[in-house]
């Protein structure tokens, strides 16, 4: 629908800029497209009324967040509340009215406008805000279709920007096709921004119209790179802890669930407090109880994790259009994340110990600012992650994204054994000796003996840490391997580095060792305890490439 509108307005719009004869196809298409949107939304515009539903839903979500605090009171007073309709009816009615009014007001005061390369948003009922967001500053465009939008053909458009201040804009309820067009527009703007050498002039209008269609179709050619079946997602649920996705979604029902379980258990005559009473039961009995419960918990957690995995990644597709990678997935709320190749900062290939057993890999394409969000559902939705793929698929994807990389063939150099000396000899052993001597001195032999197990385990982890940690580099990339039992591989183009650090303690200086850190927009990569020469070589090479490269990091 918007497409016809777009081309219809083409002729009406003339450009202020001077037109030149020599032009590329690309730029003419961009300018044409850009013109259209400008024509369509020069004026301040409201969203579709369906957005009221969205604002109402976010209000309810916010309310549920608050409800957790008063939930215990509600449960205790449950009976009283149900028996007194005069008490709760007004409250519910007031709440519903407030909900309706706030949603309508929010809708009424939310206005947007597209002007030259910029999206402007006015919002807020009491606290007014006016956001001015140039397309070139938008980091990430995300389309989201909540379940209640599925039938209406509308979508939420979320625009993220990178920067010290976190700035996010969410436009609820744009027609899906228009949102897609706008997204294309914003991404096209980047292309233009990045190809500054290319001719930026506009083509005469006639040819704009003629090339318009062909470019549009070529732009829509999507190549599918990867899909994930439900089986893959179940494997992913088992190997990765995706439980918090599920827990996050079901947080409002926690109290109910707890009350329900407690009730059921007591129906079967199980009293948790009594079962663990050491006065009435032997050590063995309690131990078995604990073991059973742990297994049950593990089973339930795994089940929840599988649910979480399916919820986020259902119908997973990773595809490519031009230099953009698009991830789509989601069972209830469909997420679409688009990333331009130039925005990619680092590839992470993760394999936990369970992944190693099952021969699966989690591949992550890290964009900048990912760490800003921390470990939240949001972060996962903003990242392009390919869950639980086979090593062959992973290799294929990595080579597709960075054809020049040698991650699979490169030889890793191990970090120095001094790493072990430091953590084992200077930290773990003295701590162990101290604990043991105090325990033996106070004659707690049993505890002293059982303490050996965790210390041996930590020691094992330190040794594995050292064994896994390695680095390599070639002409364009730095590779880092690390992990404990599982292995993670990090690979980043050298010119993406933002800042470098070299660290050396006096001890390390004596043994000619150093620790280097590479700060990227997607996070920091540390290589500890490598030889001083190698460290300086790596840093000199990095700085040289960063400073001589004219490529933009984003």
């Amino acid at each position: 629908m918007p497409n016809t509108k777009l081309s219809g307005n083409d002729a009406a719009n003339t450009h202020e800029e001077t037109t030149s004869e020599v032009n590329t196809h690309e730029s003419s298409h961009l300018s044409g497209n850009y013109q259209n949107n400008q024509a369509q939304t020069k004026q301040w515009q409201r969203l579709s009324p369906i957005a009221i539903l969205f604002f109402a839903m976010s209000f309810i979500q916010g309310l549920f967040g608050q409800l957790i605090y008063i939930a215990p009171a509600l449960i205790i007073g449950y009976k009283q509340i149900t028996e007194n309709p005069t008490l709760w009816l007004p409250i519910v009615i007031t709440l519903l009215t407030v909900l309706a009014i706030s949603a309508v007001l929010k809708f009424y005061y939310f206005q947007y406008r597209l002007s030259k390369n910029t999206i402007e948003i006015r919002a807020g009922v009491f606290k007014k805000s006016h956001t001015n967001l140039p397309f070139s500053r938008i980091q990430n465009v995300k389309l989201e279709q909540p379940i209640y939008y599925r039938l209406t053909g509308y979508a939420c458009l979320q625009l993220d920007t990178a920067g010290s201040s976190k700035q996010e804009v969410k436009i609820a309820a744009l027609p899906l096709a228009f949102a897609e067009a706008l997204k294309k527009e914003i991404l096209a703007q980047h292309e233009k921004h990045n190809n500054e050498d290319c001719s930026d002039d506009k083509k005469p209008l006639a040819s704009t119209l003629s090339t318009h269609d062909t470019n549009l179709t070529s732009a829509q050619q999507e190549t599918l790179l990867n899909t994930r079946s439900v089986k893959d997602l179940i494997i992913h649920g088992v190997t990765s802890n995706r439980i918090w996705i599920f827990l996050g979604a079901s947080a409002p029902f926690f109290d109910n669930a707890y009350a329900f379980i407690n009730e059921k258990l007591s129906n079967y005559g199980i009293n948790l407090a009594a079962a663990f009473d050491l006065n009435t039961h032997s050590w063995l009995e309690v131990g078995l109880y604990a073991l059973t419960i742990t297994f049950l918990m593990m089973f339930a957690l795994t089940l929840f994790s599988i649910l979480g995995s399916v919820m986020t990644f259902y119908g997973y597709t990773l595809s490519k259009v031009g230099d953009k990678y698009i991830r789509r997935s989601g069972l209830f709320t469909k997420h679409e994340v688009t990333m331009r190749l130039s925005r990619l900062q680092m590839i992470i290939q993760k394999q936990d110990w369970l992944d190693m057993v099952l021969k699966r890999i989690n591949l992550k394409f890290e964009q900048s600012g990912a760490k800003l969000y921390g470990a939240s559902t949001q972060a996962l939705n903003n990242k392009i992650m390919v869950p639980s793929i086979t090593p062959e698929q992973s290799l294929q994807l990595i080579n597709e994204v960075y054809p020049e990389n040698n991650l699979s063939t490169v030889n890793f150099t191990a970090i120095s054994k001094h790493f072990l000396v430091r953590y084992l000899a200077y930290m773990l052993l003295p701590l162990f000796a101290f604990c043991q001597s105090t325990l033996l001195y106070t004659a707690q032999y049993e505890l002293a003996a059982s303490l050996i197990v965790p210390f041996v385990f930590i020691g094992f982890l330190i040794v594995m840490r050292w064994y896994r940690w390695g680095y390599a580099s070639d002409e364009h990339f730095i590779y880092v391997r690390k992990g404990y039992v599982g292995v993670d591989y990090y690979c980043f183009p050298i010119y993406k580095v933002q800042q470098t650090t070299l660290k050396q303690s006096i001890m390390m200086e004596k043994s000619q060792l150093a620790t280097t850190r590479f700060i990227l927009a997607a996070g920091t990569i540390t290589i500890p305890y490598l030889s001083q020469n190698a460290a300086y070589q790596l840093l000199n090479k990095t700085l040289m490439q960063v400073e001589s490269s004219d490529k933009s990091w984003m």
């Binding site: 002409e475 650090t501 700060i519 000199n540 400073e547 490269s549």
Partner: protein, 180 residues
């Protein structure tokens, strides 16, 4: 394809810039002195406050708290002394270096650290001057990159004129800021 424009001709390795041979410039001598005075004054002031509490005539203080206060005075004095000794040794080691394309800052007594910030990756610069820094004519230069707030690069204790020159140099540097 995406790094095909990059050329990498063979260069005589003797002429390559080396971080190891960075000529280091010391901070202003006023920086270490100011720190010393600040620590000394704040230690003495804290001790005076504790003393005032201990010997004030208005309130009766239980004996064990008076003992504790006596101990606190010694503790504060010791901490102040340690800090002065540490600063005395560590401050002169702080240095910075400006090359054509990057800015480095080195510091550390036991754990030595050199941070290098390529100028092309700088997003914005700030000169920060607290009341004490203003009094003694010093400035701290802060440089932000996309590496995040935790990785903010900063050089303290620069004479104001020098800090301003540094900022000018970075702003005029070809290729910086415009990427941001």
């Amino acid at each position: 394809m995406h790094s095909s424009t990059f050329s990498n001709q063979l260069i005589d390795s003797q002429t390559l810039p080396d971080l190891e041979l960075l000529p280091k410039q010391p901070l202003s001598s006023r920086y270490a002195k100011t720190n010393m005075v600040v620590i000394l004054v704040s230690t003495i002031l804290t001790i005076l406050v504790v003393l005032a509490v201990k010997y004030q005539p208005f309130l009766e203080i239980p004996a064990h708290i008076t003992n504790l206060l006596g101990f606190a005075i010694w503790l504060i004095a010791a901490l102040g002394f340690i800090m002065i000794v540490y600063r005395r040794l560590a401050d002169p080691l702080k240095s910075y270096a400006l090359r054509e394309h990057d800015l480095s800052y080195s510091a550390g007594l036991v754990f030595k650290k050199t941070v290098t910030q390529p100028i092309v990756r700088i997003q914005h610069i700030e000169l920060k001057r607290g009341p004490i820094e203003r009094k003694v004519g010093l400035a701290t230069i802060q440089v932000f990159s996309a590496g995040g707030a935790l990785e903010t690069f900063q050089i303290p204790g620069l004479p104001l004129a020098q800090a301003q020159k540094l900022r000018e140099f970075i702003l005029r540097h070809k290729g910086s800021i415009e990427h941001a």
